[in-house]
Subunit: 495 residues, 2 copies
């Protein structure tokens, strides 16, 4: 039997999955590494440690089988930035999406209209996670380092460079830099001029199914793989976890609510939003990934469980109490922005609120309002997509927050769209494996991804309850009114 | 020994206290009666039941002593309205201050400028509790009844009429109708024309120390008192509970936080507020009672204890947890308007909110924010008074919410004024008794009320802690910003 390894390079860990030729996961290995947070707002990682983790994972997975490993393919965290010198040695850590160094640069770029230009040209929201803003910050704050740097790449490019010696990125990763022109799918010269870097300082751009072989001979030996194991370029985790739940066109939205959350869909033309409320990342000339990354998912549920209840009460205890309150929590509104927020409001200073309390509201209403608020926020993000595309036929949902029937049904009622839930959570490595199948000619069309039924398989479908859906549709405008009423005040909480 | 009876006619009960000549309370009797709430917003009482309660109280107190009862004096709930026919028989219940029938009339009066006129001319806030609005509502909705009615009085006038046959009110009670001209201290003819009633339909107006004897002989016998026991006109509970805590001039604010709350002060000129945020009720040509009645006091504390904690945890448990959070609750703001609000925002639709949550905020911060929010709301009301008068030298405080050292000190820190707390809570009957002393010539000047030391006696003084006061002074503008940001949305919660 032949195998394919799918690797997902996450923020806290990298996970590798060994898939057999039928697309079944036979083994999983994962390895964590620390986030470097020595000053407020910093969130960096050591690329060498990540490369070590990747080597260990490949080695261990290769040990699991005597069969042939046809390919290694990649899913990766987006928005990281790494500087290399003229010898391609590291000059920086990997500055991750979570790093805040460029916060004031973004404020400035908003005021001067640059942020709008970046969004219009590249589909990258006005947020410090984007490498374009990190580069402006480095130019301003670390000008020596900036001048010295010969190459600017991200973590996936670094790992592939180490294995193959090729410096190459794919469209979906390049899109996350804020420098890839939406229409031409090439680096945008005007933006590079503003940043003050040359095209040659950036990796070349290829399709996710590009084959980047051979692997350097030293790693063939070290990792215990064949010399003709192919390295497939792979793509961003955002894109792969979308197609990985079989959301391959605008009929479907991929919804994930784990610790944080995201809602995404794929459309056939670039569609940006007048309020820059979502990203629009090109995949190729016919496909664009639209979506919103949301900070406040299960992490807020966890907070509420510990704060409204006691730390020793279980998620199920919380859900049991919440279910005793009526749909809409008697018009108690919860804005879930406890960790600031990216989509849909893009306000790092945002905070959470309970609004509309009366003496009728007791613990059940407060608990249910938290769940409803988390879902309203994702619906809010989805609404911005729907406004510019169309209402989906299904929402394909994953994530730990959506474990229970109660929350899944509530979600179907709020979105007023059937929710298809997925058994398999490893949609990123699955889709990376599928890219490799395409690269190798084992799968032809994108829609064959559906065949890997054990992964994208429907656990259960939740259809909206029309009565409750109507309640949520009537409350949502109030939620939006309150969201807007408080927007201007958040900055004053952090003074 | 001679005695004076002070009677306080409250909304849920009437309380009578038998005072000896030294001003010491020797016996207390109280008797409750139901609030009639057959439809939403209704809050009426049966005047006959209240008169029965009053008779029972006087009888029982009279039984306590063989000494002579010199006088019976009155403290009364304000804003009640009772209609009598040509035989002075009841045509209506007593429509209390809590009744909401005139809500839409007030909205209309606000839109048409009438509400502003009423406030400017009489000092009565724009609120359905005012009899002037109830009369407009009755004219509109119950025109037959309105035409039939020969006399419009309040509950205190009814009780005194039953005992003496005289239909008479005092300035402080008349002020609460919204028809007493602030400058002339007579019924305002322009407003009476608008309402469509004649001056003869209203009681005559006298000073609170007016003697209204004799008592009808049938009651002398029935109640077991002397024929020469004097009935003293008395005054409103708002006025009497202010002088009853020795807040007799603008150097002192009377602060009460029980189930609901109030802040009041007495000034020597009529001073209305451009935003109509407080009442300005004349007492006489040299004294005006300014103040704000606040719905959300200990009732909100109680709600929070049951909702954030469990019903079986005590107020002290709640306070113990709240005290572990820092002053300012890490910028978590609580707006306490769970029961709608009168002063300072005058918005019946208002609701409560927690705003500014982050994952740092746990139960202690939420608990402390509730306490701080309740006090901020009263400080907000007091600020409107301070803006138009001056900062007081002390705040004389009473009420169940201010039982603990912690809350008292917190109150001193928020107000940034020393808080003098009072042992005696029965300031209304005490002051009614003092009016009788003045009427009988036993006390001369108002400042002699201080002598009744066992009542107005200082339990303890709490001086502001300058560090914490500075924290609250810095958060209060944010509280106000949030208060204003949400103001326009409350109406949409009740749709
Ligand atoms: N230890 C405490 N700390 C704070 N609040 C308390 C404490 N104990 C009781 N309370 C609150 O005090 C309130 C009762 O106070 P009080 O007896 O003065 O009220 P009341 O006379 O019914 O009210 P009102 O004066 O508004 O008519 C209750 O709402 C309760 O929540
Ligand atoms: N029964 C449950 N109902 C709702 N949320 C839950 C439940 N159990 C766990 N969670 C939430 O799910 C989140 C973890 O989801 P998961 O998909 O594993 O997250 P991630 O992979 O993003 O870290 C936690 O934040 C937790 O609060």
């Amino acid at each position: 039997m032949n195998y394919i390894i799918g690797i997902d390079v996450g923020t806290t860990a990298t996970k590798g999955v060994l898939y057999n030729e039928l697309g079944k996961a036979v083994s999983t290995v994962s390895k964590g590494y620390p986030l470097i947070q020595e000053k407020i707002g910093q969130a960096e990682e050591d690329p060498k440690l990540i490369f070590d983790a990747v080597q260990e994972i490949i080695y261990k997975l290769a040990q699991q089988t005597t069969g042939k490993i046809l390919a290694i393919s990649w899913s990766s965290q987006m928005h990281s930035l790494i500087g290399l010198d003229q010898n391609n040695e590291l000059l920086t850590n990997s500055i991750t999406w979570a790093d805040n160094c460029a916060k004031s640069i973004v404020e400035d770029a908003k005021n001067k209209g640059l942020a709008k230009k970046v969004y219009r040209k590249t589909g990258m929201p006005m947020h410090p996670m984007a490498p374009i803003y990190k580069l402006l910050w480095l130019k301003d704050q670390k000008s020596e380092l900036f001048k010295q740097t010969q190459k600017w790449i991200g973590i996936k490019e670094y790992l592939i460079f180490r294995l193959t010696g090729k410096m190459i990125t794919d469209t979906t990763m390049a899109a996350g830099t804020g420098m890839l022109n939406l229409n031409t799918l090439t680096w945008d010269q005007e933006l590079l001029n503003i940043v003050g870097i040359k095209q040659a300082q950036l990796p070349e751009i290829a399709q996710p199914i590009e084959v980047i072989s051979p692997i350097k001979i030293e790693y063939v030996q070290k990792l215990g793989i064949n010399p003709d194991t192919k390295i497939i370029l792979g793509a961003s985790d955002g894109y792969l976890s979308t197609i990985g739940v079989n959301a391959i066109d605008s009929d479907h939205f991929a919804l994930n609510i784990g610790t944080s959350g995201a809602v995404r869909t794929i459309v056939d033309q670039p569609k940006i939003d007048e309020n820059a409320s979502y990203f629009c990342y090109p995949i190729d000339q016919q496909h664009y990934l639209l979506g919103g990354p949301v900070n406040n998912g299960g992490i807020v549920f966890n907070w509420a469980r510990q704060t409204l209840f006691d730390a020793n009460e279980t998620p199920q205890d919380f859900l049991d109490v919440a279910q005793t309150a009526p749909a809409g929590s008697r018009n108690l509104i919860f804005l879930p922005y406890l960790g600031g927020e990216r989509a849909p409001i893009w306000n790092a200073d945002a905070r959470g609120s309970f609004i509309g309390l009366t003496r009728m509201h007791q613990k059940p209403e407060m608990a249910r309002a938290v769940i409803e608020g988390i879902i309203f926020n994702l619906y809010d993000a989805a609404s911005n997509l729907i406004k510019n595309t169309k209402k989906p036929v299904t929402i394909n949902a994953t994530g730990g927050f959506l474990k229970s029937d109660f929350v899944r049904q509530l979600c179907a009622n709020v979105f007023n769209v059937p929710i298809v839930t997925m058994k398999e959570e490893q949609s990123g490595t699955l889709a990376a494996m599928f890219l490799a199948r395409q690269a190798l000619g084992l799968s032809k069309n994108m829609d064959e991804i559906e065949q890997f039924a054990q992964f994208a398989q429907t656990d259960k479908v939740y259809f909206p309850n029309q009565k409750e859906a109507a309640i949520y549709q009537s409350i949502f405008p109030l939620y939006c009114e309150i969201r807007d009423a408080l927007a201007a005040s958040y900055k004053n909480f952090n003074k």
